[in-house]
Symmetry: C2
């Protein structure tokens, strides 16, 4: 029953040494004889002394907390990311706090300032990528790492998926299946480079295969959520019928796709019989036997391990060149796509 926490001064006094010696011993710093070090370590262990991290941080002028700012931890993609990063950084003695910006750039900026005020030692940011954030990021004196999305004027370290390629292979898959009319349902198009790059990849594929792009059936301001995917489907399928109506859809992420599917199922639109679907992320629920969503994997475990490594580098060797890591996506073919069948055939 430790009634109160000891201070380093108390420990020093009990051991009849100076606080600095204790400090050196517990921090594995040089300048203590082995015998004294051992004595101190044993004693400290015995009485259960642990240095006050707050005091350490203040004295050292830096903490060991890193902030992870992302859209929404309830998105399984981010939950995986956060889990991985947290676990990796944990083993290196860092502690990470996760902040949900809810895809709102004002919250994001608030959290960035917050991290600064709290003297976090670094920031891992999945930005919503507004012009505003851009300004804040560049005038930040904290080590920062952008994950998944980069801003326009950023030239620091990042770890991202090759989203252009992701969009390209998703579209190509559909094209190879014979689809001619393919629509894109995008997350905040203007603000998210991730979504925008995927869109560009899709456009490129269309172009390369001489297919036309029909903006009428595309949506560009979706909010990455299941409900939004549901609403998107409602909107699209309530459009008056036309020969131009798409036979396949690209959805910006799996959550949107799941919502989209839900609407379809409820309204007798069969997948993949009536329309084909491809999305991005490969969250675990997409692989469920009853779901079988064809999707482009971003390899989240790879992203989180790379991001952890880069962050640790940034923290421990600040002088190093910025690291720019791009990860190749992979198409996971499952069951929401099938060969295009002409109505007349």
């Amino acid at each position: 029953m430790d009634k109160h926490s000891y201070t380093i001064a108390e420990v020093a006094k009990m051991l009849k040494v100076s606080p600095s010696t204790v400090s050196r011993a517990i921090n594995n710093a040089p300048g203590v004889s082995d015998s004294v070090r051992e004595k101190i370590l044993n004693f400290v262990d015995e009485i259960g002394y642990r240095p006050n991290t707050i005091a350490q941080s203040l004295s050292r002028g830096k903490s060991n907390m890193v902030a992870l700012i992302l859209g929404d931890i309830r998105n399984p993609f981010y939950a995986d990311l956060a889990f991985g990063i947290q676990k990796n950084l944990d083993t290196h003695g860092y502690i990470v706090t996760t902040f949900n910006s809810e895809y709102d750039y004002r919250k994001e900026i608030e959290f960035i300032q917050f991290a600064k005020q709290y003297h976090y030692c670094g920031i891992i940011l999945v930005t919503v990528n507004s012009k505003e954030a851009d300004k804040y990021i560049n005038k930040l004196e904290l080590p920062i790492l952008l994950v998944n999305r980069i801003t326009e004027h950023y030239n620091g370290s990042f770890v991202v998926t090759d989203n252009f390629q992701a969009g390209y292979i998703a579209a190509r898959h559909l094209i190879n299946l014979g689809h001619k009319k393919i629509s894109f349902m995008s997350g905040h198009h203007k603000s998210s480079t991730a979504s925008y790059q995927r869109f560009l990849g899709y456009r490129q594929a269309l172009k390369n295969y001489c297919l036309s792009y029909n903006e009428q059936y595309c949506l560009f301001d979706l909010n990455w959520k299941m409900e939004t995917g549901y609403e998107a489907a409602k909107k699209i399928f309530s459009l008056s019928p036309s020969p131009d109506f798409p036979s396949a859809f690209l959805l910006s992420n799996d959550l949107l796709a799941l919502g989209f599917m839900d609407y379809c199922e409820e309204h007798g639109i069969r997948i993949p019989d009536d329309v084909s679907l491809v999305s991005f992320d490969n969250i675990v629920y997409s692989g469920l036997h009853r779901i079988q969503l064809t999707t482009v994997s971003q390899h989240v475990e790879k992203i989180s391990s790379e991001a952890s490594k880069v962050m640790i580098d940034l923290l421990e060797e600040p002088s190093k060149e910025p690291r720019k890591i791009i990860i190749e996506p992979t198409l996971i073919e499952r069951n929401t796509t099938r060969a295009y069948k002409n109505a007349e055939s």
Copy 2:
């Protein structure tokens, strides 16, 4: 472009007042004339000064960080819980750090000690509930709140679901459907009160309706994960056929159920035609049109709002009586259960 963060001393000097006056002003403490206060506040705002929270914490002897220790953020139930708690506490000026114990009591204890060393001001704990943790929890001098599960000798504040009731209504639903042989697939039975209470409720229902309990088809050490549910199904369905084989299963949580379903689907066991399934949590994916899992909702948004309220109480009025909050679960009837049909009929 603020090159460096100002200190309170610098601000004071610029304003030709003392640091204490600045401190009082920015903390809304009494003892400053309105005119001076206003002047300080305006200036501080203008130059973008923010007090160093680390220094504040050290000086005050307490921080405003609360630790949330839970099993695994990748479980959507916990993601929802964490999201809600974080959002609520955020608006009260607290910052919450989430730790994943991975259902390992040693990690849990490590995190508890950690929170102490870092001078967190409070802990919200979803314990794995080992005897070990029990000891640590009770000799803790930090405000602590147990969520979802309580330990044997705990007599502090908690917010939990009525898990006995949850188990009872789940089983009763199946019984009303005519099922006679109902099996229970449990999370760590011995260590989790949540799971154990659900099991007890189930046993009680069996008893009340004069049904027999057959341990042979129950499993008690599952690990709350999808893969584990999959393995559980494999294990059960590889048992040699018998007239006692259950026609319905209760699964400790939705993730287990999803994995269980996956195995069944893959092996031609139809749900609900061949076997009925009920589980607990009502994560969002259970409601998907293609899934339609019948489950018992714990009302996670209610849990998180109550937990937040109680934690804030604990922090701000430490003298108050412990709060003990029990939330009633609700059965969500969907599509993984159906009336029992005798093979001969």
